[in-house]
């Protein structure tokens, strides 16, 4: 335990550069830390603050990794040892425990206070709410306290998230909890998929990390397309629901110029035309981009036949440049338990294929590109459809089976 019972820990050392960050209207993490040190006398926090001041002076980071964990798990704690422990002995260890929150980052105060109370007992008192992947990060604990702290958290129903070559903690938008755009139960899907993969979250067994994010609709408020290997995005198959009276009310209020300049001309596929001064949506041309619905939420809403698209392969810079997820399942209903199991089955096959094929440190998106989309889809048992590409090939560098013969329908 890093907390000191006596008042000596409450004294702040000078941090002139950091103090500059107490100025200005936006909440200052430095002020927060200082308040906490003065409040609690947590010396680990003071040591970290001092080392941070030194980083600001020298423009260098001073943490290195190591191996810290809890019994039975291979992941979930990011270990940090100071490279200059002699200078800042109070900060010699500063490990982070990644805690998986509930889908949608919803909390009851009761459950959240459980965490705070336990963290006060064992940790630095610092938290990051939340990490970019979606973990509640308890930042700053020493090796000796990790297990006990975890056990107590675990008794209250909290568990560690992923790190390293694991399935990572998921993320999801607020979804059906509040949002009228949600096309499927994104929170439930998040809960079920991540629960299913719990073993892979805790024990590194994959070629590299694998992330899941769940957005209720194509507005993608969980940033799934860029930040998740598996992006589950709500969509619909039938027609946009239109309340004609609300459409006319919108035009009456905003004017025809506004309708043209902000709705009709903004549709990416010219699916909206002007007819007799009003709008008409040609739903077969609509790509479910959400724009018209976003502008006119009272008049328009997603259709009734709803489900998800699965986009695979989103990821950051390393090492082929940023990748956005690509459609691998255009549409899947996600209403029954069976539907859900179907989705999990497919993802399981994808992960299996990837585990077989991937090079070291190769995300599934890179692997698909290198090996070929068709091989990937075949392994996943998925049909190759044109929805998976924005257009067919534009070069002749392929070969078909020798007996390939297209069946052309006569369209008289």
């Amino acid at each position: 335990m890093s907390k000191q019972p006596d008042d000596a820990g409450k004294k702040l050392n000078p941090t002139p550069l950091l103090d500059e960050l107490e100025k200005g209207p936006w909440p200052s993490f430095i002020s927060g830390y200082k308040e906490w040190i003065q409040d609690s006398g947590n010396t680990m926090t003071r040591g970290v603050l001092d080392q941070l001041q030194y980083s600001y002076e020298t423009k260098m980071g001073y943490w290195k990794g190591g191996v810290v964990g809890v019994h039975g798990y291979g992941a979930g704690v990011i270990s940090r040892y100071s490279m200059i422990p002699d200078k800042y002995p109070e900060a010699k260890e500063f490990h982070t425990m990644r805690i998986q929150p509930a889908p949608g980052l919803h909390y009851s105060t009761a459950k959240l206070r459980d965490i705070l109370d336990i963290w006060e007992k064992y940790g630095s008192g610092l938290l990051s709410m939340h990490g970019q992947t979606g973990n509640l990060q308890l930042q700053g604990i020493d090796q000796d306290s990790v297990q006990e702290c975890f056990d107590e958290l675990n008794k209250k129903g909290w568990d560690l998230g992923g790190a390293g070559a694991t399935v990572r903690t998921g993320a999801s938008c607020v979804g059906p909890a509040r949002c009228e755009m949600a096309c499927y139960d994104s929170l439930d899907a998040h809960y079920k998929v991540l629960s299913y993969f719990t073993d892979l979250v805790h024990r590194p067994q994959l070629p590299y990390k694998a992330k899941f994010k769940f957005s209720g609709c194509p507005n993608d408020c969980s940033n799934s397309i860029q930040r998740a290997d598996y992006a589950v995005i709500g969509t619909w198959k039938d027609e946009i629901q239109m309340d004609k009276a609300e459409v006319e009310a919108f035009i009456a209020a905003k004017g025809v110029d506004y309708l043209v300049n902000n709705v009709i001309t903004r549709c990416p596929t010219n699916a909206i035309t002007m007819e007799n001064g009003s709008m008409e949506i040609n739903n077969s041309d609509c790509v479910r981009c959400m724009h018209c619905i976003n502008v006119m939420p009272k008049a328009l809403s997603p259709g009734k036949e709803r489900g998800i698209s699965l986009l695979v392969g989103g990821k950051g810079h390393l090492k082929v440049g940023n990748m956005l997820g690509s459609v691998m399942i255009p549409f899947l209903k996600l209403e029954t338990q069976e539907d859900m199991e179907g989705l999990i089955d497919i993802i399981d096959r994808m992960i299996d294929w990837w585990s077989e094929e991937a090079l070291d440190h190769e995300r599934i998106g890179e692997c698909i590109e290198r090996v070929g989309m068709v091989a990937f889809l075949e392994a996943a048992g998925l049909e190759t459809t044109i929805d998976m590409v924005s257009h067919p090939r534009d070069n002749p560098y392929f070969k078909a089976d020798h007996d390939h013969k297209p069946q052309i329908k006569s369209m008289a």
Binding site: L324, T384, P392
Partner: protein
Amino acid sequence: MEKRTYKTEESGLHHHMEMLHPVSQKNYGQWSYHERPGPGILKHVAKSGDVLFTVRAGTHRQVTIPIVRRLCDLADKYADGHLRWTIRNNVEFMTPNEANVAPLIKELEALGHPVGGTGPSVSAIAHTQGWLHCDIPATDASGVAKSVMDALYDDFVKEEMPNRVRLATSCCEINCGGQADLAIVVQHTRPPRINHSILKDICEMPSTVARCPVAAIRPTTVNGKASLMVVEEKCIYCGACFGACPAMEINHPDHSKFAVWVGGKNSNARSKPSNMRLVCHGLDNNPPRWPEVTQVVKNILGAYKAGGRDWERLGEWIDRIGWKRFFEETGLPFDKYMIDSYRHARTSFNQSAHIRF
């Protein structure tokens, strides 16, 4: 040949001024607007007020001296001794005299030259050499072009398409016919057979190896002599090696098929220019009339004509309705070979939730 006395005048190309119709010369660069009084007829109005009518007619491209002489006769009679060809092998006659238009059209039609190809019509097919003249052809482009245009005659002489339609046909994958709204390109479907007996004498082996786009050619030894081999799993039958070395015999009586590509666009109108994309392959190479190819062309253009909006080029129509509906409405089967697997494959993936159902 006797000893040559003439010294070549390296004159390059003729200047255009002497070739232009006098009204063109006079109003050169000073045009105001144009109208299309009817299919095959353009009316350009100059800032000076001068008016110039153009009549456009289809030709065989592969023509003969008498055919061209007859066109010259018409030009002398109706177009003040001038005529031009378009980039699509149509012939054009210009006249300031509106009264010339109808009789000129009549005479052209009597000679078998359809008048049309303007505005939202299907213009003549850009085509290539084929069996008539080239050394790599898997088919006869002139024959294919003739067969397809017979079927599209009506779409040439009328202006009933959503926008102008450009077709091309090429007699090998090299595609001298270029990009088009719809391109008909024959493909070889087996690796080259290597003629080892001539290879050693005629082949510059390193260039031949370098010519292969997929690195399928390797040095090897045949009968103790340095030679080449083709890794069959890799080879995609493009025929490029034949261009470097005639011993890489790609031509074969049985192993060739047609592919159809759509959505090539050179103009910058609205959307950026775009490359054409593969929508059908494995069609029989079936002389003398290639009915399978014509069928596919008709399916595609029929659907486009029915569903395209004014000013939408073929590829833009697809951009609006989506590829899935394109395949549905044209009756063509989508298949996995159409998914790009070459250099920029990733950039063709649908990296969005934009999907049409």
